[in-house]
Amino acid sequence: MRDPSSTSSFDSALAAGAVTRVPVATTTAWARSQEVLGLTIQRRVSRLPAGGLYALLFITLVHLLISHEVVPEPLAAQPLRARVLTLTRTVRPCLIVAGDSRAQVHVRPDVLATHFNLPTGATVNIGMPACGPSAVLAAYRELRDRFAPHPLMILSVSFYCVNDGVQDDLFIRDESVWSMNFAQRIGMLPLERALASVFLPERALLQALTNGRHVPGDRVVKEGGFVAKPAGGADGFSHQAVSEQLQGVAVGWFGTPQIDGFRWHRFVKDLQELRDLGVHVVLLDGPVHPSFWEGIADTPRYAAYKRFRAKLAALGQRLDMPVLEYDGEVLHGLDPDQAYFNLTHLSRTGATRLSEQIAADLRDLIDRGQITPPVENLAGNVSSPSTYSQ
């Protein structure tokens, strides 16, 4: 403690006028105010939810750890994973049909297998509703050991898979959301889903920890994963049924068409990554019912769809990936109402015809040396019985 009677550098400075003396009353008030401020801060700090603040810190750290180290990439969606595991129980397929519901109901693996003289199980259809390229990539990345090395993949791509303007967010799967930034999520998804998507890595981790619970069923094995649909579906192609379907397509496929944005770029990256993983990709855009074209004629959707096809063709050329685009001609001789299940999906009859055409076109591509024949990939691919089914 300083002795007030002693002469110090402070006094010298005071004498020299370098500092000014503050009246005692003022300093006391200052000290008191400091004390009050200190107490106020202390009280405020003591009111802070310390546990909550720690939690905020821990949540951030754990989230960063999970999203960057533990699960840095999306995992296969549970149903798709189960489907792949079921379809690859005995043989590692070398010819894969993948993509959304259109892949699932458009291509018969057995027709392709017969054409290329492949054994049962070597050709599979892993298509599932709304499974775009990102979902296929996630599944392949995680389960690539279940497939033959360098398989040939026919990847069905529908317009909505690359459309940022789609209005129904069911058509934007988590695997796509994963690589969006937060602003894109807010722009493309309902608020609730956009917020919840912050914790996609945690959800994926939980899924990874609980995957073992799944017991694969036998239903999808029947036709190599192909799901046959009846002609005309439940409502047929009456004027009302067509108009209702067109309304659904307007929301689910088109919305406000925007095919130059995030999802297109993501699509390109997904294709590149599939290629880097050793997959020979052939892109497929199947036919749609004539009423589909009539319904969207003279609307911006028609132009958007045409542009999509042009972009797809150009991309195929750029990435050296064959593109199989089909219009109604592929089904010539068939009554459209018999060949289609609805405006965008084929019936079994239509799928059989399309599959034959795809097989012929693949053969043509092989003959021209543009793709490797799947039969060559098959050599030595038959695996031991799956450990999964044990």
């Binding site: 009111r47 939810p49 310390a50 546990g51 909550g52 603040l53 720690y54 939690a55 905020l56 810190l57 821990f58 949540i59 754990v62 989230h63 608020l191 609730e192 889903r193 917020l195 919840a196 998507s197 912050v198 914790f199 996609l200 945690e202 959800r203 981790l205 939980l206 899924q207 609980t210 619970r213 017991v215």
Partner: protein
Amino acid sequence: MLFNSFPFAVFFLLVLAAYVLSRRRLHIQNVVLLVASYTFYGWWDWRFLLLILASTLIDYVCGRLLDRCRGDTACLDATPDAPPPATSARTRRAILVASVCANLGILGFFKYYDFFAASCAEVLQAIGLPLQPRLLHVILPVGISFYTFQTLSYTIDIYRGHLRAHRNLIDFAVFVSFFPQLVAGPIVRARDFLPQIARPRVWHWERVYEGCYLILWGLFKKVVIADNVAVVADRLFSGDTPTNGAAVLVAAYAFAVQIYCDFSGYSDIARGTARILGFDIALNFDLPYFSASPSEFWRRWHISLSSWLRDYLYVPLGGNKRGPRRTLINLMLTMLLGGLWHGAAWTFVIWGLYQGLLLIAYRVLTPSWHRTTAALGAPSVHTLRAAGIVLFFHLVCFGWLIFRADSVSQFVAMIDGLVGPWHVRGTGVTTLVVCALPLLIMQLAQIGSGDLEVVLQLPAPVRGLTYTAMFLGLAACLGAQIERPFIYFQF
């Protein structure tokens, strides 16, 4: 609007903002609560609002009329400016009967009409009198059993002279429809809750933190534990899995965990939400699976309902004051009606019967049990209690088999399965164990500390870790699955 949904989160934040902004004016704050409660209830179906309005008005008017002619009954909170008492006991009784009939009439019509009509037809058909009853297939309004009991207790309390009628209709309407506990309880008593509505609320941050913790823990129990265990229970009860002894046992355990976490989770969210708004709602679950006897279980399980049944059914029937035999009959009647309260199905009635039998057996056997243990030199109190807890937990689980079974025949088939072959594989036991583990850890900590909110007493970093685990569990589960409604909504 479910507590575990995004719309509720937005709704609650909006209500909270309006509530805080109107904090200087109590009546406006109560109007905010009323509008919020009606919005919350009308979210399911706006037509339900007509029912709750009718129930509110009936009991408000009956309460006021009872109060006017309250006779010589002394009121606990009588005020000097109260209206002069009239002395018509008969009128008072008539008013009470009108209120009870109106409330139970609404409840009976919406909840039990089809059940009783179909059951009567079956009985008549069995004795050779075929009858085709006209079934109405009325939708059961959510929460009707809860708010009906709540309003019933109000008029009965006024009739008994335990309470004065509330004059402010808005306050009374808030009491009936208070959204945190409207659709699945706890059933609050007017004596406890109306004074809280009538007095200004004071904002305490500590209460807000406690409320947030209760909401977090309630959501964790519901979304992470109950909903994941529900997958196991649903599969086993759906009949897809061949019934075997292990499957039945796992089904019973799984449903025990599911129903507890589902219902107590809802109660915790309700209490937490109410606490943030400045209200205290009574505890509804006090570690019920650690009960060593049926009477203890009913003091810990759905406390608001069991205490309601005790005060407004068991005691008026005579309770234990009219001799041992009458006590047993009263117990059985109370539990039968308690079972029926849960739903219009014979499985609920049988469940009530089973619970009644347990209570009766406990009451009858306890004295001789004490004599025997005293004579033989009983093991330590702790050992006895532990054995009692394990035994009684299994008796409760057996009861849940009856409660959850879709029909009496399914229950019988499951009991048959218990004596059949036992295969643990494929029953989902791993999921059950993993999901139940956090619950067990928490409950052991609660028992060890003697504090249900033990987490709030932990050092801040440990508390933070606990919150982190709960939050991340929730975040991983919330978006991944379909929102399941709370089980008790159907009651």
